[in-house]
């Protein structure tokens, strides 16, 4: 029997606002405990919440990006439960008139196939605080800094059919949230959290079996591990003709399995009712139109354009589109490059390679974003032109890259200053080759015996003796010729 999983996701993303959803406290991550709280977010009696307009704007953007219908008259509701990180004993959320509903996100599967994943609804709510459990088990400590930070909850329809689809969906969604600057999506700071609903059925069936909900999934890796584990668990049960029950499970990081939540942790009756302290929110046509006009091109649309127009490969496009800044940088380079080499697609490939390659490697090694470096699109285009014109070789270009990134110096200037102009003169290179061959009889013998790395050693020596300036192709050519007649 063949089985297939039916998967839906609930995504919580913290909205990128300076202040909380209903009060003017800072949302900055990492502040000392309880230094960013006030009577409103602590839920003291007699206070009144007021909605942050920026959060509403982010919601409209998210709704548009996910092709949802925006609820023109939206309301808030109280979700009641008791937990020490929730000082009001209720969370302000949206149960009856969610901000938007009935959307979809198109994802691109392997092999260019496209699939629309339905979005059930998206709604606006406030985050809870954080509990720390003392090791001796005698008490818990509560920090309310996170209490009241705006969250968007995105609920998908059960349209996902494999862990691979889940991964692509999460990537696509994160790119959109990052790109539109709706959320910083920092998983390590808890800005992006997941819950998954999973059931397994015989392939070809259309009914929805009882679903198992998995909570506590705090990274892409864990989401995928938990889903894979849960599919396996349920499939085994079905094979043994056991019945899978509707239940809530938790990911157990230590044992790397999902485990049943204790009934005490579950058994919620949230008794939703309309939030009397917040008047309804009206979203006007003009407001939506204005935001639509200002919205950046979405990353999935832009990616499509990069791949078809610039024939960018999947890997490069993923890196270049990982944030808006890098993608903008790429397009800026391209515009400048068009002036240098009009109409060549070779140049776009070079730019893509440089950004996805050496530049990204530097950024990763130094753990810094592109915006914190001194490089400009002009400098990168200049650097690539120097290589393409044969004035410097690829290696020299890579070597001076850190100086451009760190000091914002023009590549031409660095090359001039350090005398790095490539030596293409065969006579000069020939002399350098002769000298190296004379000094390395042992290596030549090795080479003759068939040791191939002896050859690259000799190339390296010649490059070194010319301070890396020799044209590598010429060095290769001359070395081969000379070794043959030796």
């Amino acid at each position: 029997m063949e089985y297939e999983p039916v998967i839906g996701l609930e995504i919580h993303a913290e909205l990128a606002t300076k202040t909380k959803l209903f009060c003017s406290c800072s949302t900055k991550f990492g502040a000392s405990p309880n230094s960013q709280v006030c009577p409103i977010c602590m839920g003291l009696p007699g206070v009144l919440p007021v909605v942050n307009e920026k959060a509403v704007e982010h919601m409209i953007i998210t709704a548009l990006a996910l092709n949802c219908t925006i609820t023109r008259q939206t309301k808030f509701d109280r979700k009641n439960y008791y937990y020490p990180d929730l000082p009001k004993n209720y969370q302000i959320s949206q149960q009856y008139f969610p901000f938007a509903k009935d959307g979809f996100l198109e994802i691109k599967l392997l092999g260019d196939e496209k699939k629309k994943i339905g979005i059930g609804n998206i709604h606006l709510e406030e985050d809870a605080g954080k509990n720390i459990h003392l090791e001796n088990g005698k008490a818990s400590l509560v920090d309310l800094n996170r209490t009241g930070i705006p969250l968007v909850e995105i609920v998908t329809k059960p349209d996902l059919r494999s862990p691979e689809e889940v991964e692509i969906f999460m990537d696509t969604l994160r790119d959109i949230l990052l790109y539109t600057e709706v959320s910083d999506c920092k998983m390590e700071e808890g800005s992006l959290r997941f819950e998954a609903n999973i059931s397994v059925r015989e392939k070809g069936q259309t009914h929805l079996p009882p679903r198992v909900e998995i909570k506590n999934l705090n990274s892409f890796k864990i989401v995928l591990l938990a889903i894979k584990h849960e599919i396996e668990r349920q499939t085994k049960m079905l094979e043994k003709k056991e019945k899978v029950l509707q239940e809530t499970r938790l990911w157990d990081e230590e044992k790397q399995i999902t485990r049943l939540m204790r009934s005490k942790e579950e058994a919620h009756d949230y008794r939703y009712f309309p939030e009397p302290d917040l008047p309804p929110l009206f979203i006007s046509e003009e407001e939506i139109e204005k935001i639509k006009k200002e919205m950046p091109e979405l990353p999935n649309v832009r990616k499509e354009r990069f791949i078809t127009k610039y024939r960018m490969n999947e890997y490069d496009s993923r890196i270049i589109l990982s944030d808006k800044e890098t993608a903008d940088f790429f397009e800026e380079c391209l515009k400048l490059g068009e002036n240098v080499y009009p109409g060549t697609s070779i140049f776009s490939k070079d730019i893509a390679n440089w950004i996805a390659g050496p530049v990204t490697r530097y950024l990763n090694e130094h753990n810094t974003p592109l915006s914190k470096t001194q490089i400009t699109p002009q400098y990168l285009v200049e650097l690539i032109s120097l290589v393409n014109k044969g004035l410097i070789n690829q290696n020299t270009a890579k070597n001076i890259l850190p100086e451009i990134l760190e000091k914002g110096k023009a590549p031409q200037e660095i090359v001039k200053e350090k005398g790095l102009i490539q030596v293409t003169d065969e006579e000069e290179i020939s002399q350098a080759v002769d000298k190296i061959l004379k000094e390395n009889q042992q290596v030549i013998d090795d080479f003759k015996k068939g040791k191939t790395n002896a050859f690259s050693f000799l190339v390296g020596q010649v490059m070194k003796s010319t301070k890396g300036k020799a044209n590598p192709q010429t060095v290769n050519k001359l070395l081969k010729q000379k070794l043959e007649i030796l």
């Binding site: 405990p33 006030c38 007021v50 459990h133 003392l134 818990s140 400590l141 509560v142 920090d143 009206f282």
Partner: protein, 97 residues
Amino acid sequence: MKNIINKKDVEYVARLSRLKLKGEQTEKFTRQLNTILEYIEKLNELDTSKTEPTSHVVPLRNVRRKDFQKPSPTVEEVLKNAPDKERGYFKVPPIIE
């Protein structure tokens, strides 16, 4: 008196509200709550089929504020009324996970 809710409902609501009821209290509250609910049921006599659902009586809408940060009170002030505290945190009985 009508039986709109029974003893079981009251016990359930008490549990949700983290209230411990003593034996005779459950009976008493069931009776009292039924009286209140019966009184409120009078509202059902009105024809509301043509009325929009109303969660607010004040005709306010679209009250929003700018995303502009204001200083929060000091940690000392925040924790002033806390029954127990430690290193800037509220200290509460252990939460069993």
